[in-house]
Amino acid sequence: MSNSKSNGTSDFQVIGKPFRKVDARAKCTGQTKFADDIILPRMLSCKILRSHEPHALIKNIDVSKALALPGVLAILTGKDFPIPYGILPVSQDEHALCVDKVRFVGDPVAAVAAIDEDVAFDAMNLIEVEYERLQTITSIEEGLLVEEPRIHEYGDGGNVHKKVSLEFGEIEEGFAEADLVREDTFFYEGNTHLPMEQHAAVAYFDTDQKLTLWSSTQTPHYVHRALAKVLEIPASHIRVIATPNGGGFGGKSDPFNHEVVVSKLAMITGRPVKCTLTREEVFYCHRGRHPVLMHVKTGVKKDGAITAIHFKSFLDGGAYGSYGVASTFYTGALQTVTYDVPRYKFQGARVFTNKPPCGPKRGHGTPQPRYALEVHLDKIAEELKLDPAQMRREHLVPADSITANYLRIGSMGLGACIDKVVEGSDWKQKFSWSNWQSAIGNRQSHKGIGIACSSYICGAGLPIYWNNMPQSGVQLRLDRQGGVCVMCGSTDIGQGSDSILAYIVAEILGIDPFDIRVVTADTDLTPVDLGSYSSRVTLMTGNAAIQAAERARELLTMAVAEKLNVPIENISFAERRAFDVENPEVGVSFAEAVVLAESKFGTIGTVGSYTPPRSPGKYKGAGVGPSPAYSYSAAVAEVDVDPSTGIVIVERVWIAHDIGKSINPALVMGQVEGSVYMGLGEILMEEMSYRANRNAVHKFPSMLEYKSPTTMEMCDVKTYLIEDPDPNGPFGAKEVGQGPLLPVPPAVANAVYNAVGVRIDEVPITPEKVLKALREKERGREARFGPTAVPHVEWPEPLRVLTPAEGGDGREMPSVAVHS
């Protein structure tokens, strides 16, 4: 049955309305049970001993003193976990506890289960580990240069984890026809998610040999798979329940060692076991933003039209694979989806270093290249004497097109986004390339304004492990008393995914969202959803929910039509009733409709599932970047820079986001504002940094010294939502959780230049860097702070793909060694 509502063509009862989240009151009364709030009878406490060596062989572990401590029930070491795991099938390189060597300060070495936390802590400190130190690899340059010792025995040689080389179209032809070719080098420091909730997990192994794990994870399905593999018990005997996450941002997307450890300890002791990480341990879990060194070369015509881009990225991956292969591809995938880029070349290399592993943080692999590209384009606009907002506006990628690297663009609202922020910020009045020159000498105000744009995926086109099954499933159960239960594997990490399910089902069945019970993220009860990552949840679970709800409505419609003796197409659902649209007073209550349907068809349960459309890209590496839809954002930042201190105050950000269609505008606004906040933290202050010696010790694994914006640093935000429904989105909706972060760092960097005339080509923009650049400028040198070169890398011969414009079919060309 077709549904005009899900095509966005009729009036809505629920969609587009600022309903309260279905779990909001529980969260505001202390009733929500986060993982550490779970307390079970006879529960044991687990502590994990972590390496204080950055790179060392484990020569011996003596647990005898610890085991002798009264109250200690079990101790595990690496020999208890011979089977490796990891989030990606291509990098199964982690052990729940290190087997023969440690790879970073914080790597887990042994685990204790004891009657309480004090005893577990004391026992942990009685474990004696003998290490033999190995040379440490602490930087991108060392990772590329130092071949031995290898941190891992796999990858693309030495300490290089992954090398990628892709070329779409004849890049040199593009540079040859350009009026200007510009090259720039940038560095984006790593930073971390810093969710307010520390990771926690509770395991229980029952007398029927079945394991239950409650965990603050964004990806219960992947944890389920990892546990089955490592513990060697059937997946059917494992139940993973993702508790509501107290913030995720990508930091709870890998299967983690503490999850595996508590499970094993519960199996051994027969008692529930809990492990709650300390804040310091959360810094070691990391999986956050990769530090990335980047080189970008772009050819443009006089009007700013791009003729070709060659982008190189070098990623400091830390000690494990995590999502790193995907992260590497993502640093090159989305450069083509904002502006028209007819030819494109990408080379990326990720190295292993002896630091906490990097992975996906909000924007996964794309904020770094987006920052580089948008600052680079700003410099190009200045060279061409063009307005940077106008230059961007004139060369947008067309809607409903296929990019040079075979990403299919659907709806594309970036033009409207740029118009909104340009108008709202009074850009045309405020911006000029000579702004900072006029400000010099006036010590009172060094205000500047900058613009940047971006795009992000609405879910990855392909699942993490190869399969032909749906990425998202929803099950609906209708109760004969009118109750509706929606079940889905998705995990609410604060973004409101539980509420989205309720809103969508309520809209289609004509009931109130608060009539609905939402059961999510429980591998025993809910169909698989791959997890809360890649901004996939609203689009994928939303489409699955629409399908399940429409199927249920179809059953109800047939039964009600028969009862009322009216044509099926006349039946409509609203205000908890099913009725004849021609005689709205003729109808039945929703509960009666369910009774009629159950009498006619038996128990009413329906399912819905969602699989993204196939990507037009068929080349090796085409798996990262495709998405059912792309969201767009544009931001203008206004800053005030104090040239005597280098302190940058971001006063206001105007941001417009192309959401497709808001399922709930209030929640969309919250995601935009939160994204601006997190982007602000990244550009101004947040950094994972390590002591400059061979120890690779984190300088400040604490919330006090890892600086993040408080209320006093947070800027004013003016948000505009652009609604241009995408045919692939549920009711036309696109993502909002990650995309709006992306334009913020480069918009601020461009505004700093506009304010004081110095380019800070390295994130974060700290006062020290601003001062150094200002000093360079005073001395008549390049008014800039940032890296000047990238290391030499032996790149593999690029995989060549003809672009769609060149008549390509999305497949790589047979390799012929002709290009230099």
């Binding site: 969260k27 009364t29 307390i39 109250g71 004090d118 810093l194 939160g674 209320t711 935000v717 939502l721």
Partner: protein, 175 residues
């Protein structure tokens, strides 16, 4: 400290308006006593080092970090946690507005924010935006960018003053 001979401390105090008694290991913080010995897990923790404000509770009406206060020091004092904010089944205005406006995204920092805001509104019934920022500057939130929190506090303060107040349409719809 090993377990064996541990002697428990015992205090009586006022907890969410009711008399309470509890025994616990004497080195425990108020945070640990509330969560582990009284099962009031509504009070959260983000660092247990006094850095993030997540564990904020009110002691004699003043906001304190429960991770930095010994449970023993709560003797004879009045402690209010998120579980005590509602008046019976009637939510506190802050609880309503935090839930309604989206000030609680993941909700993990919300109890601490609401209690810090409650102290503010009791001192300053019509707080300016700057006063709110100042009062909440010791609490970290990673989800919201604080904006919805300011709005929720302003709405709750108006409600407590008996004034009708609505959010402007543009801050809900992004107009």
């Amino acid at each position: 400290m090993t377990n064996g001979t541990k002697q428990k401390a015992h205090i009586s105090f006022t907890l969410n308006g009711e008399t309470a008694e509890v025994a616990f290991a004497p080195h425990k913080t108020l945070l640990e006593v509330l969560r582990e010995d009284l099962a009031l897990t509504g009070t959260k923790h983000g660092c247990e080092l006094g850095e993030c404000g997540t564990c904020t509770v009110l002691v004699d009406g003043r906001s304190i970090l429960s991770c930095l206060m010994l449970g023993l020091d709560a003797e004879d004092r009045s402690v209010e946690t998120v579980e005590g904010m509602a008046d019976g089944a009637q939510l506190h205005p802050l609880q309503e507005t935090f839930a309604d406006t989206g000030a609680a995204q993941c909700g993990y920092c919300s109890p601490g924010f609401m209690l810090a805001a409650k102290e503010l509104i009791e001192k300053s019934p019509n707080p300016s935006r700057d006063e709110i920022k100042e009062a909440l500057s010791g609490n970290l939130c990673r989800c919201t960018g604080y904006i919805k929190i300011y709005e929720a506090v302003e709405l709750a303060a108006a409600k407590m003053r008996g004034e009708a107040m609505e959010l402007p349409k543009e801050s809900i719809y992004g107009l």
